[in-house]
């Protein structure tokens, strides 16, 4: 009976693999073996004569060339981000419009001041919606990564980086988890299992969070779309590169002081190039993208509701002034002909605005924000950003979700204004704008570097089998994030940005 099961499983597996790769399994397996061998030969044999070149070899002459390899890699990465930002801009606009329309339509169904209405429009639609907007962007990025992987280029990227990785005491095998980290830190950290040496593995785990994961993308996307609309691709690219540089510096430091020892030998596999199949690329994109959607539906949903609750309750705080009485007075003034209709409307709008803002300051969230604000003030962040970042510990997308909820709560008029516009218009009490391109950039850098999300921390705990390393990772990344954001913000101010 069991034997039958084995054969059935083999049939299922072959069919599955064939459908993904479009090639029969025997070819895939032998290709991998040849890839393994080819990787060995490239590193073991020094040739002084011209070799017969196949197509793969010809491409490799440029792509893994000693001096061209890294520029080619950097160029392809740049192209990928440029493409991602350009292509996803249009569908993102549709989703944003749809979300605003939905918020308005549903908002109209509830009477003013309804708790349920606020929960649905501000909490759910505002919070989760601001995360959903980035679905097209995330899918496009995963689409590009899937093409690079399926074509065989990722293996080359690892090969090219191998030489470089040796300089920081690691090897190419550590590079693959790093690239996967662009998708999700958890996948990246789990992929370090293939690294045999503990010192290599732990170093790779500890620096992996600097590879900017898909969850951080919504934060960049929001800020770049709002404050750097012209140079989107380039700014995004610079953030990713900064992450890579940080990872390199920290790896070098860890390798020297925490885990000293020589790097272990390792074979870089170089399977031949192949044309990616549409089906394979779509499947790979979907696998990772679905994870993002699932997170939006579960953990982010819960996080947004929590943020909504904290920023709306106590529902009726002790106000410093009796806003309702003041509003009634304005109406009475109009009725008795003391003021014009426009003047009344303006007074009421201002009162509503002040009331909303006072309510938020008196909410639990306001209290939490006041505790956090002194810590983030030197970075140019106000309490709302501080709270958003605190929420980001649950999942980094929540930074955006929280800002979405907080700004929705603070809105004074009934017209839904997009989160982007609200960010642009928000000011400090003295009238200076909170968000400038400089603050936005400092915030992106902070988001890039600070504490890995709670799920990543759990995975680090599991993979290192101790609480020491996850706690260390949480601590050092946050310290580094603070220092980097401080230097950017204060330095930028000094040179007059």
């Amino acid at each position: 009976m069991e034997r039958r099961e084995i054969l059935d499983q083999v049939k299922r597996s072959s069919a599955h693999l064939k459908s993904i790769s479009g090639d029969d399994i025997e070819t895939i397996i032998s290709e991998r073996r040849y890839g393994f061998i080819s990787g060995i030969c490239k590193q073991v044999v020094t040739r002084s004569m011209e070799e017969r070149l196949t197509t793969s070899d010809n491409i490799d002459r440029i792509v893994i060339n000693r001096s061209l390899g890294i520029p080619v890699f950097l160029f392809l990465m740049w192209l990928m981000f440029k493409f991602t930002f350009t292509v996803s801009g249009i569908p993102m606009g549709w989703v944003e419009d749809g979300q605003e329309w939905l918020g308005d339509t549903i908002g109209d169904l509830f009477p003013e001041g309804s708790i349920l209405g606020s929960l649905i429009t501000d909490g759910v639609i505002g919070g989760v919606g601001s995360v959903i907007i980035f679905v097209p962007l995330i899918f496009t990025l995963f689409f590009c990564i899937a093409i690079l992987e399926d074509s065989g280029y990722m293996a080359r990227a690892a090969f090219v980086m191998d030489r470089f990785m040796h300089k920081i005491g690691l090897h190419g095998r550590s590079f693959i988890p790093m690239i996967l980290g662009f998708g999700c830190t958890i996948t990246g950290i789990m992929a370090t299992r293939t690294i045999e040496q503990k010192r290599d593995r732990f170093t790779t785990i500890l620096v992996n969070p600097f590879m900017s994961c898909g969850a951080r993308l919504p934060v960049y996307a929001l800020l770049i779309g709002t404050f750097f609309p012209e140079k989107g691709g380039t700014v995004l690219y610079s953030i990713y590169i900064l992450g890579i540089i940080m990872a390199i510096i920290m790896a070098k430091i860890f390798r020297k002081y925490l885990f000293p020892g020589p790097p272990s030998p390792f074979v870089m596999e170089l399977p031949p190039y192949r044309m990616p199949t549409i089906k394979g690329v779509i499947i790979h994109m979907w696998e990772r993208g679905a994870l993002y959607l699932k997170k939006a539906g579960t953990i982010i949903f819960a996080g947004c509701i929590l943020v909504w609750f904290l920023s709306n309750f106590p529902w009726n705080p002790q106000y410093s002034r009796d806003y309702d009485a003041l509003k009634q007075k304005a109406e009475a003034d109009f009725a008795s002909g003391l003021v014009t209709k426009e003047a009344m409307n303006e007074t009421i709008a201002n009162l509503k605005n002040e009331q909303a803002s006072e309510k938020m300051q008196k909410s639990y969230m306001g209290g939490l924000g006041r505790i956090i604000e002194p810590a983030v003030r030197p970075l140019g962040f106000d309490w709302k950003i501080g709270v958003g970042l605190a929420g980001g510990f649950v999942a980094k997308e929540i930074v955006v979700g929280t800002l979405g909820t907080l700004y929705a709560v603070g809105k004074a008029d009934e017209e839904a204004v997009s989160l982007r516009e609200r960010l642009q218009n928000d000011t400090w009490p003295d009238g200076r704008k909170i968000f400038t391109p400089l603050t936005a950039f400092a915030l992106m850098v902070f988001t890039l570097l600070y504490v890995p999300c709670v799920a990543s921390i759990a995975v680090i705990r599991k993979e290192t089998n101790s609480w020491k390393w996850p706690l260390f990772a949480a601590g050092y990344t946050t310290a580094l994030a603070w220092i980097a954001a401080f230097m950017i913000y204060q330095g930028g101010k000094l040179i007059g940005l």
Partner: protein, 227 residues
């Protein structure tokens, strides 16, 4: 009482297997046929210190699939007779092609020693091979030999003996097949491991790979014993 060691010589056709075989066994040779088939089987004995080393020359093959009789013979001998050490003769001037067979032995999980033969020829062609690195990458000891000049034979013999005695412990290297294939391999392996009779003489990973590759012999083995 001398200790008996059985070794199998394997390699691609024209890798210089016969010369190495002659270097090892000298005149103490016996030529017969593999059971049931008309493929020539050469055996010989080599006396080294306290060891009697029985050397079996396997047919020259490029791989260990079930496509040709030679390959089936070589494979079955290794799986069923479990020699103490398999010596893989690798033609240094055709490294890339020759190493394919090596990967097959690695996956079979046998105790393997590589004789990197004709390294003089490779060098004459302008190739230098870093044997230390090669050995690290494969997790297999690599001994450079020049068969027709009888160079490297002593080191090779000593390495074979050390290998048989378990004195050489290199980290085993596993060839990865990428996330998706690995997932399927794991599923099949899990099922195979429940069946003790299947994994006698060969690792479950190898069986899983062969089944995925559609290897007729292995598939037949699994099917036949089902009833």
């Amino acid at each position: 009482m001398p200790q008996k060691i059985t070794i199998a010589l394997a390699g691609n056709p024209n890798a210089g297997k016969t010369t190495i075989f002659n270097n090892l066994t000298g005149a103490r040779q016996h030529v017969g046929n593999w059971p049931g088939v008309t493929v020539e089987k050469k055996e010989g004995v080599l006396k080294h210190n306290d060891y009697d080393i029985y050397v079996v020359d396997l047919p020259g093959t490029y791989s260990l699939t079930a496509y040709s009789l030679d390959e089936i013979i070589a494979r079955n001998f290794v799986v069923e007779e479990s020699p103490d050490v398999v010596v893989n003769i690798v033609d240094a001037s055709n490294l890339e092609r020759n190493l394919y067979l090596t990967t097959q032995f690695m996956e079979l999980g046998v105790k393997l020693v590589i004789a990197l033969n004709m390294s003089d020829l490779a060098e004459a062609r302008g190739q230098k091979i870093d044997t230390k690195k090669l050995s690290d990458f494969l997790g297999v000891p690599v001994i450079p030999t020049v068969g027709h000049k009888n160079k490297g034979t002593d080191v090779l013999i000593q390495t074979i003996v050390d290998m048989a005695d378990g004195k050489i412990n290199l980290d085993r290297v596993t060839i990865g097949y990428g996330e998706e294939v690995e997932e399927e391999i794991q599923k099949i392996e899990d099922l195979i491991q429940r069946d003790g009779a299947l994994t006698q003489g060969c690792p479950s990973r190898w069986l899983a790979l062969k089944l995925l590759e559609g290897d007729e012999e292995v598939t037949k083995k699994v099917t036949e014993e089902e009833t």
